[in-house]
């Protein structure tokens, strides 16, 4: 059996016997399907119980809140779609949506590229001290954002920091990058990429190790060079990993919050306010819990659209592989 793309093609043998007329086994099929559903349910119930109770139901409660003028305390009254209208008429919120899109456009592709690059590099046999490098590269993920921003703050402090000091020695004057309305958002994105690419690297490493060696050997025997191997063996083999990575990068990008909360508080002049930052300030600081919930669902809609597109593409390709 062949497929048009490289990759493992596995199909469990359907029939062990030869040909001949098939007996009518529609009832058997139905009961087998029931059996499968039953088994699937048993496997799914523990996890789904937790998720339904502590994620799905709260999400529904939050959805309900979004149609009210809830402040976070006391009574709330139904106001229909008013909050949703406000989302798009409030300039600060719209600004945050735009910022988030810019952020995602920078963060998504870069973090995946860097993560994949690092994984490819550190998966090779010929790189010395692989374990050491992998650990170093993973460290940013391991320290908390609070500590990371403290450390970066020290390094980049325009008056007391090491980096401006060193650059100053080279004659390069470096201002406070987080105070510039042009550079604050890219700077915050860079910190996020720095902090999370190790996560993607590890995932790619796990995925890379799921690609059987003999595929590479076969490719090499066919005369494929490094690039050809990448395209013909690696990329297809990483397909399901890539689906996960892309969905996660999208979610991570659109839910950017921690680094902004800690490093810039949305400034300067709202340049780094993201959607989730607005959700937080509206909901937890400005007594606009209903509005914040509505904004969350607008975010959900945007992310879901992008994520679903990716999933559709991804699961279709997975079906091709099966």
């Amino acid at each position: 059996m062949t497929s048009t793309t490289a990759g493992p093609t596995y199909r469990a043998p359907r029939r062990l016997g030869g040909g001949g007329p098939r007996p009518d086994n529609s009832r058997q099929i139905a009961s087998r399907e029931r059996g499968r559903t039953l088994r699937a349910t048993a496997f799914l119930i523990p996890a789904l119980a937790v998720i339904v109770a502590f994620v799905l139901i709260p999400a529904i409660l939050a959805l309900r809140l979004s149609f009210t003028d809830a402040s976070g305390f006391g009574e709330a009254s139904w106001i229909g779609l008013d909050n949703y209208v406000s989302v798009f008429s409030d300039p600060a919120t719209v600004r945050a949506i735009v910022n988030t899109m810019l952020y995602a456009a920078m963060y998504g592709p870069l973090v995946i590229a860097v993560g994949l690059g690092a994984a490819l590099l550190l998966n090779r046999k010929d790189v010395p001290l692989r374990g050491f490098f992998r650990t170093i590269i993973f460290l940013p993920f391991v320290i908390s954002m609070a500590v990371a921003s403290l450390a970066w703050g020290f390094l980049l402090d325009p008056n007391l920091g090491l980096i401006p000091y060193w650059l100053g020695g080279l004659g390069i004057r470096m201002g406070d990058v987080f105070a510039s309305t042009t550079w604050a958002l890219p700077a915050v994105t860079a910190v996020a990429i720095w902090k999370s690419f190790g996560y993607f690297m590890v995932i790619f490493l796990a995925g890379l190790q799921g690609i059987p060696r003999y595929l590479y050997e076969a490719a090499i025997l066919d005369g494929a060079g490094a690039w050809r191997q990448f395209r013909a063996v690696t990329l297809p083999g990483l397909r399901s990993t890539m689906t996960f990575v892309i969905v996660f990068a999208i979610i991570g990008a659109f839910q950017a919050f921690d680094q902004i909360y800690i490093m810039t508080q949305g400034g300067p002049d709202r340049a780094t306010e993201t959607i989730v930052y607005r959700i937080y300030t509206d909901g937890f600081r400005d007594f606009r819990m209903g509005f914040a919930s509505a904004l969350s669902y607008v975010l959900l809609a945007i992310t879901l659209l992008l994520g679903l597109i990716q999933l559709r593409v991804g699961t279709k390709r997975e079906k091709d592989l099966e």
Partner: protein
């Protein structure tokens, strides 16, 4: 990988195991058991003070508990931002505090939401000695004629200086600056730029501009205000004049630009600035880096001395029932009693909340005596803003950077005032 020989297990076993774990965990409740020994009413208090300040509060709570049998105070310490995150849901669910420390500006929002309840009864009872409180401090916690909070910690922002640098420049108590002009002159005098590259090695005065911290007090010292009696009063010729004065002053190059309050203070602590403006908590910070500092009062602007205060109050929440309220009031009476306040001042370096404590009662503690006098002219920043504080601050920061780095002050002031009005219109 060939199959090994595992025991066949039914899924049910796994689920049952999971349920058993869950039940065991639920049984091992890690929470503190409220309502202690027979008859004492529990009073829950939340605050965010740490280090020395937090220790004193804990000490006072302990002493209070030991001194009587009716009430037992339990303290939960959280970072300030977590308190804000947690307060509303916790109170709604009945897990919140009876008494909570919050700054005055945050308090009003909560009052409007019904989270904090009136405390007129406390003020009406002479046993509580509320007549010893500073009147303007009490006024800040009074809305529509009703008292809502009790003073907890009122720390004026003063000018702290590096004693070594002042001594080297020959500046002594006699010639401490008392007006803005003198202040900037001293700052310029103390600025050191030995290699003449435009960036001083040592700044005369480190003031924050990136977060708009002091903009309201400067405006006020110039005779105007940002927000008064429900109106945004920022856009006036007088305020523009005040801000213009500062813009011109900044050209003296005595101060860093694009710095927030923590960054400005870090500069001072690192010995890169001769002066900074901050509250009394700098004392422990300076000690930890071995820096010798001293303090004088904020110099006067055209309309007098105006400085900022970090003002924290005790607020009574809607969760507190009659018993807890009585307990809370008893604790507050204790906390603001004469001896307790002496202890508070001595260990937290905040001036005491009572006017009847003489400076020599706390003479052993450095600086606190001096700062008592500063309390008079220390006001709460942006008092009365009904909400949207984060957004309003964002606007003021932008205006402040125009002042410190250049731009049309008049235009910026008008724009900022308009945006703030629009932000606040949401809360009418």
């Amino acid at each position: 990988m060939m199959s090994t020989t595992p025991q066949l297990r039914r899924p049910g076993v796994l689920i049952a195991a999971g349920a058993a774990v869950a039940l065991t965990l639920a049984a091992c409740s890690g929470g503190a058991d409220p309502g202690g020994d027979g008859g004492t009413t529990p009073v829950t208090i939340w605050h965010g003070f740490t280090e020395a300040d937090g220790d004193v509060v804990a000490q006072l709570a302990e002493d209070f508990n030991a001194s009587q049998d009716d009430y037992e105070v339990t303290i939960e310490v959280n970072p300030w931002n977590v308190i804000t995150d947690k307060l509303l849901p916790a109170i709604s669910a009945g897990n919140g505090p009876d008494l909570v420390v919050q700054p005055a500006d945050a308090g009003e929002g909560y009052v409007n939401q019904g989270v904090f309840v009136p405390m007129d009864d406390f003020y009406a009872d002479p046993e509580n000695e509320t007549d010893t409180y500073y009147p303007h401090v009490v006024d800040y916690a009074t809305f529509d004629g009703t008292h809502y909070a009790v003073p907890m910690a009122y720390g004026p922002f003063s000018v702290w200086y590096n004693t070594e640098m002042f001594a080297a420049a020959g500046i002594t108590e006699e010639n401490f600056p008392t007006t803005w002009e003198e202040w900037i002159a001293v700052a310029e005098q103390l600025t050191v730029d030995s290699n003449g590259d435009g960036t001083p090695e040592i700044y005369g005065l480190a003031l924050p501009d990136a977060d708009g911290t002091f903009l309201p007090s400067f405006v006020q010292a110039g005779g105007g205000s940002v927000y008064t009696d429900g109106e945004v009063t920022l856009d006036t010729p007088q305020n523009v004049e005040t801000l213009q004065w500062w813009q011109d002053a900044y050209e003296g190059g005595w101060g860093p630009t694009n710095v927030t309050l923590p960054e400005a203070v870090d500069l001072f602590k690192a010995g890169k600035a001769a002066m900074t403006v901050i509250g009394p908590w700098i004392i422990t910070g300076a000690e930890s880096v071995g820096l010798d500092i001293d303090v004088f009062e904020m110099p006067a602007g055209p309309d007098g001395i105006v400085t900022q205060a970090a003002a924290n109050y005790w607020w009574l929440t809607s969760q507190a029932d009659d018993g807890a309220t009585a307990g809370a009031e008893a604790f507050l009476r204790y906390y603001n009693s004469h001896d307790a306040q002496v202890l508070w001042a001595e260990q937290s370096f905040y001036p005491p909340n009572r006017t009847d404590i003489a400076a020599d009662a706390i003479a052993d503690t450095p600086f606190v005596g001096t700062m008592i006098a500063h309390t008079e002219n220390a006001y709460i920043r942006l008092y009365g803003i009904p909400g949207g504080l984060t957004d309003v601050n964002a606007e003021l920061s932008a205006l402040n950077t125009t002042v410190s780095q250049g731009g049309d002050v008049a235009v910026a002031t008008t724009e900022t005032a308009a945006t703030i009005t629009e932000i606040l219109s949401r809360f009418e």
